[in-house]
């Protein structure tokens, strides 16, 4: 009887510890979180600056602008790997390798900003904006920093859940230029390499829109024409994007399949090595499979 009681008490203690862990995880993630991040296609709601039809902005948290200041070390620009802080999926990200920014003399720090803004008057001519427009300046003091010749930075943006292939486009104050874009892991997130820091947005193919969305959050900055730093946008046409990303996907699938075959083979080998040897004498038939 005592053993049974002890076992029941142990079971209750284990379950209580598990419940406490789950509660701690939920509180640490933020109370807007679902029960768990799993399933097929669970993503937090997209945070809009300007709401498309049918979206009530008052029910959606605003997208977060973010700014980061990084010190210059040994006269070289630091590496940048910076995201906005939406949880669990940031809506914007910029990546620059160390030493790839041209610094003005005497610069001691650089500042990177990711600011969701109201779309400019000039809209893309080859489709419709998909989600937010982001202003991404990289500066030292008030001086916009260009990338070194031949250097590339990467911009990654999340769009609303459409399941469609969007293209990252760059606005230089006058025109939108499509970039060679690639889906990044999760649905509706796309990245592209860029050669300058200006204003970026995802664009879905379709008839060009004539005006931005009806309602926008108050207080979001309007994009001023000519915010771009020196240097030109990567003008690679997006036509090649599909081919390149499908090649990468095929390579990844091949590597994963080979790895899985190796893993399966090794697991089979381990199973056979873990079996007891056949009885030597008098034994009939296969060795026992009891575990």
């Amino acid at each position: 009887m005592g053993v049974v009681r002890r076992a029941a008490r142990h079971r209750r203690a284990v379950l209580a510890a598990g419940a406490a862990a789950a509660l701690a995880g939920w509180l640490a993630t933020g109370t807007n979180a679902p029960p768990l991040y799993d399933s097929v296609g669970v993503a937090p709601p997209f945070r809009y600056v300007c709401a498309p039809a049918g979206i009530n902005l008052s029910l959606h948290p605003a997208p977060n602008p973010a700014t980061q200041t990084l010190p210059v070390t040994n006269g070289q620009s630091p590496g940048v790997g910076f995201t906005t802080d939406e949880v669990p999926i940031p809506q914007a990200q910029v990546l620059v390798q160390a030493g790839e920014l041209v610094l003005p003399p005497g610069a001691t720090a650089i500042t990177v900003s990711l600011t969701p803004v109201v779309p400019p008057q000039i809209l893309p001519s080859d489709g419709v904006l998909d989600g937010n427009v982001y202003d991404i300046p990289v500066t030292a003091g008030n001086v916009a920093l260009p990338l070194a010749p031949g250097a590339l930075a990467t911009v990654v943006l999340r769009g609303p859940p459409t399941g469609k292939l969007a293209t990252l486009e760059q606005f230089d104050g006058r025109t939108w230029t499509p970039l060679n874009s690639t889906p990044v892991g999760t649905a509706d997130i796309f990245g592209a390499n860029v050669t300058s820091f200006t204003t970026f947005a995802l664009v879905l193919p379709g008839s060009p829109q004539t005006h931005a969305a009806a309602g926008c959050l108050p207080g979001t900055t309007l994009v001023a024409p000519g915010v771009s730093s020196s240097g030109s946008a990567t003008s690679t046409a997006s036509a090649g994007a599909g081919g390149e990303s499908s090649n990468t996907a095929l390579i990844l699938i091949g590597v994963a399949v080979v790895a899985l075959l190796v893993a399966g083979g090794l697991l089979l080998l381990l199973r056979s090595s873990g079996r007891p040897p056949p009885r030597s004498g008098g034994g009939r038939g296969r060795p026992s499979r009891r575990r």
């Binding site: 379950l15 510890a17 598990g18 419940a19 862990a21 789950a22 701690a24 995880g25 939920w26 640490a28 993630t29 109370t31 807007n32 979180a33 679902p34 029960p35 768990l36 991040y37 799993d38 399933s39 097929v40 296609g41 669970v42 709601p45 029910l59 959606h60 948290p61 949880v87 669990p88 999926i89 940031p90 859940p161 399941g163 292939l165 889906p183 892991g185 999760t186 649905a187 997130i189 499908s246 990468t248 095929l250 990844l252 699938i253 590597v255 994963a256 399949v257 790895a259 899985l260 893993a263 399966g264 090794l266 697991l267 381990l270 199973r271 090595s273 873990g274 040897p277 030597s280 575990r291």
Partner: protein, 212 residues
Amino acid sequence: MIVAAKPQLGAAQPRPSAVAALRAGILMGGLAAAMTLRLASGGAAGSTSQPAAVLFAAVLLALGLLSGWRPVRGSWPSRARGAGMGLGGATLLCALPLAHRLWVGVPAVPRPAWGMLLTWSLATFCVAVAEEVLLRGALFDAVRRTGAGEAAAVAVAAVAFAVIHVPMYGPGALPLDLGVGVLLGCLRVASGGVTAPATAHAGADLALWWVW
């Protein structure tokens, strides 16, 4: 007089704990490869691709079975007790987020179109059960057989569960999935099988359609 025969162990027979550790390592490598396959084959749809999700589930089940894992042959009452524990776990996982949603009115998580309910539910169920078979079944057993104990098995399976979801949901999902992974591991320990964690996992996943 009956003399017991000495067991004939081969000279090169590996230690059981070393074999179990190797098996756990291979299972984690296979898990990473399966997730890579899911993301790469899902294309632009990523984690929302149902065919890729079903393929992922099939690969996890195959890995679990190849490692030698088999469901515990328990009696119907013990299975029912496991399912009951799992339903309790699912209710617990949903209760606070649901209460918060009703109280504060947070926006809904985007969900697939209603016409996809059946296929979405099947794909979600398959992924949840397959993840439990691999994590709280095969991997849990392998870690426990290393001699590290049940706490280590719970921890390793929870970390693996949290890490495989980072490519899909970002690092911000780590604390929640780690905590939920510990709860699912505790359900495995308390019930002695994967029925309880699989029921809790699938229940919480399927609840997303109705309440989020």
